[in-house]
């Protein structure tokens, strides 16, 4: 069954623990200019309030990066549905960056593409991805696809109720 790394923005404070855990897990040398796979940010709303986000690869079902890569470096992991990669033949052309609507691909110091693979090896061993494991507020969770669908329905209903109560 496919897996989803879900973010509940109402629980996120953009503390950055997920990003640090991701850097550690993936040995990302951000001081050498490597972009972290997970980005945290707060966005100011028009009413002066703030929303907090932690964003990485969305592991799209029909991932456009896979088709766009001229070297066939990207693929789907059958067990988890995560978008994984083997960058042996990566030429660093940035076509995957142009294809991704979320800006997920990153590049190592050698110019080759690297990205969030959902900590696929951890997940296959029954562990959570590093970002989920280290999220102190429970905003990031690892869900099965079916669980994720239920969560989405519950969130939509809550949103409608909130709007009705306003």
């Amino acid at each position: 069954m496919g897996k989803v790394i879900d973010l509940d923005i109402h629980k996120c404070s953009a503390c950055g623990a997920c990003a640090v855990a991701c850097m550690d897990q993936n040995d990302l040398d951000v001081t050498a200019g490597v972009s972290p796979f997970r980005v945290v940010c707060d966005l100011e709303e028009k009413n002066g309030g703030f929303e907090y986000y932690s964003i990485a690869c969305f592991h799209c079902e029909d991932a456009p990066c896979i088709t766009a890569c001229p070297c066939n470096c990207l693929s789907k992991d059958e067990e988890t549905g995560f978008t994984i990669y083997d960058n042996t033949n990566c030429i660093g052309c940035h076509s995957c960056a142009m294809a991704c609507p979320f800006g997920a691909p990153s590049y190592a110091a050698d110019g080759k593409m690297i990205k969030c693979d959902g900590c696929v090896e951890r997940v296959k061993c029954g562990l959570e991805p590093a970002c989920v494991r280290n999220c102190p507020t429970g905003a990031l969770t690892l869900l099965d696809e079916e669980e994720f669908k239920e969560v989405k329905v519950t969130r939509s209903l809550k949103k409608i109720m909130d709007m009705a109560n306003e």
Partner: protein, 418 residues
């Protein structure tokens, strides 16, 4: 009786069509016609191969022909096709034989264009499209005798060759009839920035000059322009452009610059499909058909053709012109039709060395050029396509987070949100 399908030409589109047919349950025969010894691969990989960034295996992203054949089950016909007879649904080979099919996909791709000028066939004058071209240039460089080169055509492949020669210590001149670099996708001010960077790296630029001849005096070449200027060199690359391989289409098939297809990849003749660089699919910006020669576009078109040929009704809405070219430590990113009219805005992020030019009309970006902002390039592309399709939704929070992270100025986001 099982269906019989011919796939004429086996590059990216042909590969994806065959893959999609099998994935959608097509169990009939497939004959793949190809006159190339190479498995499907992106022409762009040729320069990386010469550079040494990938090995020969790396130029075949889907594996060797035998592996692909084993995976999807088809017959390889290594025969040159002279004609696709669209009414009969027949493939005619150059030896005059004719084979009838239930459906035919024409996915013959494109070829490098060489203008008919004197000396174009001289020794050490090359084009760069196929692996055979790559091997020839590689062999020429390995002699150690190439000290200077002229790249004619300030195109995407042209600049990759400039990069290659520069890295090999070869004195390099980039020439074009157009007044500036990347004339089909760059706005003048972004082109000017790129040119300044190239000059700084020692690349000589010769623009607004028409190529007249290549002279060869005892192996020493001279590129002669219409105004009389001549540039001596040891090697010439002709990167003037490509032409769609439409010559096998018979007169009943609608052909402009490419074979005209609808959003199902059907030509005007029943049972004849076309996909990839040889065809004109829908340009979502103009609503007209146009060749959009991009790997991803060819793959999507091939997938769509394959699904429809397997009996699964599938539509590919089309694409807009766009490209990202990474060379000599910089990225040029272009979206939309550079000839589009609109109000132009320019922004810079000096800290990241980025420049953003956005041309928009009635709240819709019609042409955008960025220098060195590849991290958010896909976010911009997805947003522009949505706007061209009629959406007036502002940038999503996810898009804004990514743009902030990549150094996109707030003013650019505000402009797009208007």
């Amino acid at each position: 009786m099982k269906k019989k399908t011919a796939v004429v030409g086996f590059g990216c589109a042909g590969y994806h069509a065959v893959k999609a047919m099998r994935e959608h349950g097509y169990d009939g025969e497939i004959d793949v016609y190809t006159d190339s010894d190479w498995a499907p691969g992106n022409p762009m990989l040729t320069t990386y191969y010469i550079y040494g960034k990938i090995r020969k295996e790396g130029t075949m992203p889907f594996g060797a022909m035998e592996e692909i054949q084993k995976q999807f089950g088809f017959c390889v016909r290594r025969e040159a096709v002279s004609r696709v007879l669209s009414e009969e649904k027949a493939v005619q080979t150059s030896d005059g034989r004719k084979e009838i099919y239930d459906q035919i996909l024409i996915s013959t791709g494109a070829r490098a264009f060489v203008p008919p000028i004197p000396g174009a066939d001289s020794e050490n004058v090359f084009v760069m499209r196929t692996m055979d071209d790559a091997e020839q240039v590689k062999a020429a460089l390995s002699t150690g005798k190439i000290k200077s080169a002229v790249v004619v055509g300030a195109s995407m492949v042209g600049i990759k060759l400039v990069e290659l020669f520069h890295a090999n210590g070869i004195e390099c001149t980039l020439a074009d009839m157009a007044p500036y670099i990347f004339p089909v996708s760059a706005v003048p001010q972004i082109a000017a920035d790129i040119e300044a960077r190239l000059k700084e790296k020692g690349i000589r630029l010769v623009f607004s000059k028409a190529l007249q001849a290549i002279e060869n005096e005892n192996g020493k070449l001279k590129v002669v322009f219409a105004d009389g200027e001549a540039v001596p060199c040891d090697l010439v690359m002709m990167c003037i452009g490509t032409r769609a391989n439409t010559q096998i289409a018979d007169e009943k098939l609608a052909v402009n610059r490419g074979i005209v297809v609808d959003t199902s990849m059907r030509t005007n003749m029943p049972g004849i499909y076309s996909a990839g660089d040889c065809c004109e699919g829908n340009n979502i910006q103009t609503g007209q058909t146009q060749i959009i020669g991009i790997w991803d576009n060819a793959a999507r078109q091939g997938e769509t053709a394959g699904a429809n040929m397997a009996g699964i009704k599938t539509v590919y809405p089309g694409n807009m012109l766009h490209n990202i070219t990474h060379f000599m430590g910089m990225d040029f990113i272009g979206y939309g039709d550079v000839r589009s009219e609109g109000k132009e805005y320019t922004y810079e992020n000096p800290e990241f060395g980025q420049k953003f030019v956005v041309r928009e009309k009635d709240g819709v970006p019609v042409c955008m050029n960025f220098l060195d902002s590849y991290g958010a390039s896909g976010v911009f592309k997805a947003y522009m396509i949505k706007r061209l399709e009629g959406s007036r939704e502002p940038l999503s929070p996810v898009a804004r987070v990514r743009m902030i992270r990549e150094g996109v100025p707030e003013k650019v986001m505000d402009l797009l949100n208007d």
